[in-house]
Every structure is written in structure tokens, then in C-alpha cells.
């Protein structure tokens, strides 16, 4: 621990952290552009300068490690003047195109200009240096060189995190530019992160570009469903459609990053949704659908329930309770045949199911094919695209009455005799347990699409139609019951905190 004085107040912070982090522990924000907690400090933007007693020149907080007895001023007149001056330099060649810039609203220049600049411009627009606009860097990223403040975060990200040297700062002085090496493109599987860490609108995502102004977005904390890593994300919606995914800092899981596959893994939420319950006789209102499902389950001589490693712990537990309460003779197996993808050393895990571990901890696994071979008359599939993931299962499923609780019109839903719409993870609360056994909660950002309901509500409805007592007053009750019944899940994990920088 190191004791230092910050703005006249003595603080104690861990050794070996820099002044930005140390100040942040005391809720003092030191403005910065080039510094990012996930990258090596460079000290080129000069925005984070602070006054340290005994050192005549202002020091960059990002490169200065806190030391015992240090006396630091972050808001002295000298510091504030220097920040204002740096802002003037940063804005000197910055184009006046906030209106067309996607970053407007979450831009570091805008933010700090309001906080630390507010100077009158001494630059005529025609004096600004013109650079390349709309440079295609790679499949996901577009560069506007004029807007770039050359903080080199993106360059350092590629070097240090992605481990590829794809970006470089070319040229000198006022003509400096971010660019790819000749003949290369920015195409590493984590390239989207440079858009997030870009403090200005220089790097924009091709996927999100011009779609929505950021101030219209509503955000919720969520978890990436792409693989069993369980990266923390922000889901952002506008007009009840998910517009983009951004990583949410969690030093224990994904640090500040997310892979590009995860970043783009939201389009299915907006597309091909099952809006109403559909049976062989047409569409049903929700209660009718539940009754229809109950009738099919009751009439069948044998029933198989299929759980999914993509369901939340709460929904899996609800399914278990449903079996116990309503269909005690039914078999219940869990599983998925979603093809694994290639693991990498950064974030991606081979198993593409976000809740494999949770399913196992809840005691739901087993031999699906074997269970199918026993010839159940009716199969209830919950959030599991069996046929889409493994078309060869079609033979085993043939002749069986299939009920699908599905969010999208996937192959399984299409093949089902009755399909009931359920909410995706973007519309409900829930939790997934990642491969390390860390149970993380996600929160809804969308209103339920169409007539979809959370899985446990549908199960409640079917149970009611089966005259079984199964009801939870609210989601919290269900969650509490789940964690009580499965202590192995360990309850919701807390982030170890730190480094959750906005800029």
C-alpha cells in the first residue's frame, strides 16, 4: 500500500498502480485519451497531466506510478490551464463534423471540451489540415483520419492484445496518420474493439455506422451468449431492436474486450422471430397455446423434455420443477449439438453454449440420442435448435409430436407440431454459468417481442393447464429458489471491480 496525497486529502492505494487508477479509487477522474487500463501507457495525449509536488514540470498521470508520500494536484490552476491548452491543440485540426460523426454523444473530445475546454476557437476552418476520410481498414472498421487524435490506442491494442501488427502510425508531425501496413487489413478477430477504445469518432464500426444516434440508445448489462466464456457486454437497443453490442469491462472474465463474432451476435434477436404460438390449426393466443401443449403432453404415452445449455439457470431449474410437478414420468435430458468453434488464446472458448456449466451443475445432461431411441411419443424442446444444429436428428424425431419453445423460426420450431414463442436473453432476466463456474446475471433491454413470454412463464401456463401447482410470483423468487436448489452455481458472481473506464 502506498500513502499519497490527492488534492489535499491523504489516500491509501495499492502499490504499483498509476495515478489515473489511484485517483479513480478515490473517485477522482483524471481526463485522458491515450491511456487505457488494458493497454500500456504511452503518455502522448498530455491530457492526464497532474502537478506533483517537487517536480517543476507537469507529469502525465498515466505514466507516473503512485509512490509513498507523493503529493498530487489534479485540479490546480496550472493543470487546468494545461488541459485547456491541450484541448485546443487536439481540436486544432479536428473537423467540425460532429453532426455526421457516429461518436457524437459518446465522444471524448466533446466530453472533455465541455469539461475542460470551452475555449473560443482560434482556428479558421479552412486552415485545418485535411486528411483521408472514410478509409476502409478492414471488414469491420472504417477510419476517418481527420477525426483521429493519434492517441495510438488502436495501434497498441493490435500489438498488445490482439497480438497482430496490423495498425501503425505513419508519417510525422501534423501529417501523422493511423493506417494499416501496406497490403494489410485490420482483420484480426478482435478488430471491433478498436472502435470501442477509440476516444473519438476516427474508428467507426461498419456494422453500427449511421444506424442510430447513440443518445437514443437504451442500454442494459448483459452477457454474451456466443460461447462459454461469458463475456460481459452492454446490449443497446432502439425502437425495441438491438442495435449493437459493446464489451463491458470485467477484469475477471473478458477484461475490456469482446471478439468480433460476439459483437455481431445480435442480429438473430431482431430477425425471424416467432411472434405468435402456432400449431397445426393455425395461431393461438398464449393461454390456448398452453392448453394445446398440455393436451399434447397429457395424451402422449411417453414424453421427453429436452433442456438446452443456452437456457438460463433459472429457466433450466423451472423446467426441472415443471417435470417434477406436472409430468413426473417424463424423461428430461439436456444437450446441444452446436458445432464448437476454434478456441483462441484471448477470449474465445470452443464450446459455443453460454450455460453448459450451469446445465451440468443443475444435473441436466444425458444421452439425448438414447432418449430419443426409446421412442417418446411427444418431445418438448426448450430453447434448443436440435434440427438446425444437427440435421441428422430428423430421422430420430420423425413421427414424434414435437413441441418447441423457441424464440426464432429455427429448423426445430418449423418442424414442431406446436411452437410457442419465448423471450430471448435480451428480453428477460436470467443468469448463465461460464466455464469457470462463474454465474453471471443478464438483464433485459427489450420489451418482449410479439407474444413471447419467458420460458418459465410458459412452463407455468402449461403446468396450470395440466392442473399442476407450479407458480412463481416473480423472477426473483424463481432465482432465489434456483440458487437454493443448486448451491453449486455459487450465486451471482461479483466483479472484482476496477478499471471500468468510460473513456
Amino acid at each position: 500500500m502506498a500513502k499519497f496525497t490527492l488534492n489535499g486529502v491523504e489516500r491509501e492505494v495499492p502499490d504499483g498502480i498509476n495515478l489515473i487508477e489511484a485517483a479513480l479509487l478515490s473517485k477522482v477522474r483524471i481526463p485522458h485519451y491515450c491511456y487505457h487500463p488494458g493497454l500500456s501507457p504511452e503518455g502522448n495525449c498530455r491530457m492526464c497531466v497532474v502537478e506533483i509536488e517537487g517536480i517543476p514540470k507537469l507529469q502525465t498521470a498515466c505514466t507516473t506510478l503512485v509512490a509513498d508520500g507523493m503529493v498530487v494536484e489534479t485540479e490546480s490552476e496550472k493543470v487546468i490551464q494545461e488541459r485547456t491548452e491541450v484541448m485546443e491543440f487536439l481540436l486544432r485540426n479536428h473537423p467540425i463534423d460532429c453532426p455526421i460523426c457516429d461518436q457524437a454523444g459518446e465522444c471524448g473530445l466533446q466530453k472533455y471540451y465541455m469539461e475542460h475546454g470551452l475555449h473560443d476557437s482560434r482556428v479558421a476552418v479552412e486552415e485545418k489540415i485535411l486528411k483521408r476520410k472514410r478509409v476502409d481498414l478492414g471488414p469491420l472498421v472504417v477510419l476517418d483520419s481527420e477525426r483521429c487524435i493519434l492517441c495510438s490506442r488502436c495501434v497498441r491494442f493490435c500489438d498488445e492484445v490482439a497480438g497482430v501488427r496490423e495498425l501503425v502510425l505513419a508519417n510525422r508531425g501534423g501529417r501523422s496518420e493511423i493506417t494499416t501496413f501496406p497490403g494489410r487489413t485490420l482483420e484480426n478477430p478482435y478488430s471491433g474493439n478498436v472502435v470501442d477504445i477509440c476516444p473519438v469518432g476516427a474508428l467507426t464500426s461498419k456494422d453500427f455506422r449511421f444506424k442510430v444516434r447513440v443518445w437514443f440508445l437504451k442500454t442494459a448489462d448483459s452477457i454474451c451468449p456466443g460461447c462459454e466464456r461469458g463475456c460481459n457486454i452492454y446490449l443497446e437497443q432502439y425502437q425495441n431492436e438491438v442495435q449493437r453490442i459493446r464489451p463491458r469491462a470485467n477484469p475477471d472474465v473478458n477484461r475490456w474486450w469482446i471478439c468480433d463474432d460476439g459483437r455481431l451476435d445480435y442480429k438473430w434477436i431482431n430477425r425471424d422471430r416467432l411472434l405468435r404460438a402456432e400449431g397445426e390449426a393455425g395461431t393461438h393466443p398464449p393461454e390456448r397455446a398452453d392448453e394445446e401443449a398440455a393436451r399434447m403432453l397429457k395424451e402422449a404415452s411417453s414424453v421427453l423434455l429436452v433442456a438446452s445449455p443456452r437456457s438460463s439457470n433459472e429457466n433450466l431449474f423451472a423446467l426441472k420443477r415443471f417435470r417434477d410437478a406436472a409430468l413426473p414420468r417424463a424423461a428430461l435430458v439436456g444437450g446441444s449439438f452446436r458445432k464448437p468453434w476454434e478456441e483462441d488464446r484471448i477470449l474465445k472458448r470452443p464450446d459455443r453454449n453460454p450455460n453448459r456449466k450451469g446445465m451440468e451443475l443443475l444435473g441436466l445432461s444425458g444421452d439425448l440420442e438414447g432418449a430419443l431411441r426409446t421412442g417418446p411419443e411427444c418431445v418438448l424442446v426448450v430453447e434448443n435448435d436440435l434440427l438446425g444444429d444437427r440435421p441428422e436428428l430428423a430421422d430420430l424425431l420423425r413421427g414424434k409430436k414435437l413441441i418447441a419453445l423457441a424464440s426464432n423460426r429455427d429448423a426445430t420450431a418449423e418442424a414442431a407440431a406446436l411452437r410457442i414463442p419465448v423471450c430471448t436473453y435480451a428480453e428477460t432476466e436470467g443468469s448463465w454459468t461460464n466455464f469457470e463456474g462463474r454465474t453471471q446475471a443478464f438483464r433485459p433491454v427489450l420489451k418482449a417481442v410479439g407474444e413471447s413470454r419467458p420460458v418459465f412463464r410458459v412452463l407455468e401456463g402449461i403446468a396450470r393447464a395440466l392442473e399442476a401447482s407450479l407458480a412463481w410470483s416473480d423472477f426473483e423468487t424463481l432465482r432465489a429458489e434456483t440458487f437454493q436448489a443448486a448451491p453449486a452455481l455459487g450465486g451471482l458472481a461479483r466483479t472484482s471491480g476496477g478499471g471500468a473506464h468510460a473513456l
Binding site: 449511421f210 443518445w215 437514443f216
Partner: protein, 157 residues
């Protein structure tokens, strides 16, 4: 009456009689009637579609979108007007401009049925793309659809 308090000056006997007050009131209205019969030209009413009021120079009227020199919309689809609009009557869709790597509105609808003509959109516009200077105030139509002005209508006003 319980709960109701009469506020105001008390009436005198003559007023309480009411008849005299009625007569006074009747004289007022008949004065208007007679003078208006003989001086119809002094009435403020205009024979509207034929006669039109001379509008003040800075009368705003409904919106229009301005163009660049090459005829394309000045609008850069920044959504500032949409953000500023208290009536939520503007909806924009942005697209890529083929030339300079900039944004342009490919769809720009003003639902004039919702518009309150406050002019905040004009205030908000950073590029002087939307103006309320057409002086057009005759906005009736026989269908709601026609009252949602699209970008072509707004550009050619």
C-alpha cells in the same frame, strides 16, 4: 351552497333586478349588429381563399429542406432536429453519401399532423438544412398519408 364560496362584489338592487342589466347587454349586442350591417367592410373577417392576409415578412410556415449547390440535400442526418423535436414528428434514416464520405439523409419524414411549429428543429440544425421559411400554412389534406411529408416534398418547397 356548502363548499362553494361566492367571490366577487355584491350586486346592488338594480343589478339584482337583472332586467336593466339585460337591457344594457342587449344594447351592446345590437350596437354591434347594426354597425356591422352598415359597415361590413370594417369587419376583420377575410373572405379566405379569395382574400389572403398579408403575412409578416418573418412568418415561418411549414418546413423545407435546403439543398447544396449540386442539388443534394444539405441534411447530414445528424438527428439533432429529431432529438430537439418536442412533438416527435421527425424521423430520419441516414445513408452514406457517395462522394465525400459523409452522411446524408435518405429518408426524412415530417409528420405535420404532430408538428407544433415550435421551430426547435431549425434552431437545432447545425448545417442550416431545415428551415421554416416557406410561408406555407395551408396544410389541409384529405388523407393522413399525404400529411407525412417525405424528403422529396420537403426539398422541393
Amino acid at each position: 351552497m356548502p363548499g362553494i364560496r361566492t367571490v366577487g362584489r355584491p350586486m346592488n338592487i338594480k343589478e339584482k333586478w337583472y332586467l336593466f342589466e339585460i337591457a344594457k347587454g342587449m344594447m351592446v349586442s345590437i350596437r354591434h349588429l347594426v354597425s356591422n350591417i352598415f359597415h361590413q367592410d370594417r369587419m376583420p373577417t377575410l373572405q379566405y381563399p379569395e382574400e389572403k392576409r398579408v403575412l409578416p415578412e418573418r412568418f415561418r410556415g411549414r418546413h423545407r429542406l435546403t439543398k447544396r449547390e449540386d442539388g443534394t440535400p444539405k441534411c447530414v442526418a445528424c438527428y439533432c432536429c429529431q432529438t430537439a423535436c418536442p412533438a416527435d414528428c421527425i424521423s430520419i434514416e441516414a445513408g452514406e453519401r457517395p462522394d465525400a464520405g459523409e452522411k446524408v439523409a435518405v429518408r426524412f419524414d415530417i409528420n405535420i399532423l404532430r408538428c407544433v411549429f415550435c421551430g426547435l428543429c431549425v434552431e437545432a440544425c447545425p448545417v442550416d438544412a431545415i428551415r421554416m421559411d416557406t410561408g406555407k400554412y395551408e396544410l389541409s389534406s384529405d388523407s393522413r398519408k399525404k400529411l407525412i411529408y417525405d424528403i422529396d416534398t420537403l426539398l422541393n418547397d
